[in-house]
Symmetry: C2
Subunit: 125 residues, 2 copies
């Protein structure tokens, strides 16, 4: 099996043949991590119900949780408008980050941005 | 002004000098879009309280909302563990996607992944 042609033909891959994958806990909305997928990783993720990445450091497919036990069970997978990123809603077992944190963004931490406030005082969404 | 050296020295930029920026509505948890930032875009985003991207198609800085009115007001900005992605929690004015949708992932749509179920029946997080 390989990635369905109707999906493969849409993707806008980077120079390394990858798209960006944002991983979000499906019920709490936490953004857990960002990883990368080539066509095979996306195909496996769509078919197996488990998230599979392309590891840029190891240059190999990486089924999240096979070593750590920290699997990401797929709930839904969405392509973005310009087809260079996917959003994967998952049920994360344990910790998403290899450093031992729940999310990768807890580790790099808050960079202390200035907080901005909308000028109209309204709320959309 | 330019990006603080203690941040600049950490970043792992891609071949084009960019990091990935995941934009999330701060209160609902919706993932709105993925964009790209160079050092200047990240610096401006941290200092101005509004999200600034690097537009790969136009090869220029792009302060979200200057043309459309659909600004992204920054609530917090988090670096990930390997320093190649940031998570920006924002208050989105109007529509995040240039196609006129609330999020870019509504546009590419649901790719119909198989749903996976954790084997332990537990819940983490």
């Amino acid at each position: 099996m390989s990635l369905a042609p109707e999906i493969a033909s849409k993707l806008k891959r980077d120079a390394a043949g990858l798209i960006c994958a944002v991983i979000q806990q499906y019920d709490t909305g936490e953004v857990l991590m960002v990883g990368w997928m080539n066509d095979d990783a996306l195909d496996l993720t769509l078919r197996e119900g488990r998230v599979v990445f392309w590891s840029r450091s190891r240059q190999s497919l990486w089924r999240k949780g096979d070593t750590s036990g920290h699997a990401q069970w797929v709930k839904s997978l969405w392509l973005d408008c310009d087809a260079d990123a996917v959003l994967v809603k998952v049920d994360q077992v344990g910790l998403a980050c290899h450093t031992g944190a729940r999310t990768c963004f807890e580790v790099g931490g808050d960079l202390g941005a200035e907080v901005g406030y909308r000028e109209d005082g309204q709320k959309d969404g």
